[in-house]
């Protein structure tokens, strides 16, 4: 065995004798974080089927909202047209009263 081999062995033997710190109990925080990570790994994202159903539902809701906006826009344009007509009464009760001759 060479001189440097012996010196390295001396150093390694001394290092192996170094006292190790005591092992205490596992901290509650580490336990909880580990369990949370495990729980997340056990419950991954929804499967393809339920994801597809969720996306279909979302698309249907979006379509319904779009139709509703379109219908209300058309109705508002109709009201605008009526407002521009000077012979249209805003209150239908007045219109009915005139047509029945209650108001001259």
């Amino acid at each position: 065995m060479s001189h440097i081999d012996r010196q390295l062995d001396q150093l390694l033997r001394a290092a192996a004798r170094a006292p190790r710190p005591e092992v205490g109990p596992m901290s509650f925080a580490t336990q909880t974080r580990t369990l949370a990570a495990w729980r997340a790994a056990r419950n991954p994202l929804p499967e393809f089927g339920s994801l597809l159903a969720w996306r279909t539902g979302l698309a249907t809701a979006f379509g319904t909202a779009l139709v509703a906006v379109g219908v209300s826009f058309a109705a508002s344009r109709e009201i605008d047209a009526d407002v521009n007509d000077p012979y249209v009464f805003s209150d239908p009760r007045v219109s009915v009263a005139m047509s029945t001759g209650w108001i001259q």
């Binding site: 440097i4 150093l11 290092a15 006292p19 596992m26 580490t30 974080r33 580990t34 369990l35 990570a37």
Partner: protein
């Protein structure tokens, strides 16, 4: 549950079924083993608790792969060593250790070694450990792992083979090469001290 009386087999079965209380018991039972391995192979910039958590996360997610052919502690040791090894692989190798990087106490050990005063005294064991850690930091993760297991933990080649999954010749070759590199670095330190 008393850890000394823990029925590991039953506990593993319950953990496989998703029982978190059993998982907690198993963690408490295995923690001393895992933390010892983590401390022995901890990369410099990684928190001990983070690595312990990573080891247990792997143990739980891969528990289905445990077939009971070896004791659970052996299987967990292997998972822990491999997790530490992967973490060490992410670390950059530190630049070569110079004499100026040593503390006063560490420098004294090197001086005594250069003067050939024999064994390092027991009260300087911690400083010797620090020097070895610094020498190991220059090595590749595989070299570092094999030296730690063989010389600092006093494990046999067969033990290392089981824990790392390397073949026996590979363990021996790596140990030899790692020692050669350590000797070169130690020689430089001693030469710097006694030019």
């Amino acid at each position: 549950m008393d850890q000394a009386e823990l029925d590991v087999e039953a506990c593993v079965a319950r953990v496989r079924g998703g029982d978190e209380d059993a998982a907690r018991c198993l963690m408490e039972h295995l923690y001393p083993l895992v933390v010892k391995i983590v401390r022995a192979h901890l990369p410099r910039r990684t928190a001990e608790e983070d690595l312990v958590q990573a080891v247990f996360a792997k143990v739980f997610t891969r528990l289905d792969q445990f077939r009971g052919e070896v004791p659970l502690a052996h299987w967990v040791s292997r998972v822990a060593v491999n997790t530490c090894f992967n973490e060490l692989n992410r670390e950059r190798v530190r630049p070569e250790l110079r004499h100026a990087d040593l503390s006063e106490a560490e420098s004294e050990i090197i001086q005594n070694m250069a003067a050939d005063t024999g064994e390092v005294p027991g009260e300087q064991a911690l400083e010797a450990r620090e020097i070895v850690e610094k020498l190991l930091a220059d090595l590749s993760p595989a070299d570092r792992l094999v030296i730690t297991l063989l010389h600092l933990e006093g494990r046999s080649v067969e033990d290392i083979r089981q824990v790392t999954g390397w073949s026996t010749p590979l363990v021996k070759v790596r140990a030899f090469r790692a020692r050669q590199k350590m000797k070169q670095r130690l020689k430089l330190l001693l030469r710097e001290n006694h030019p």
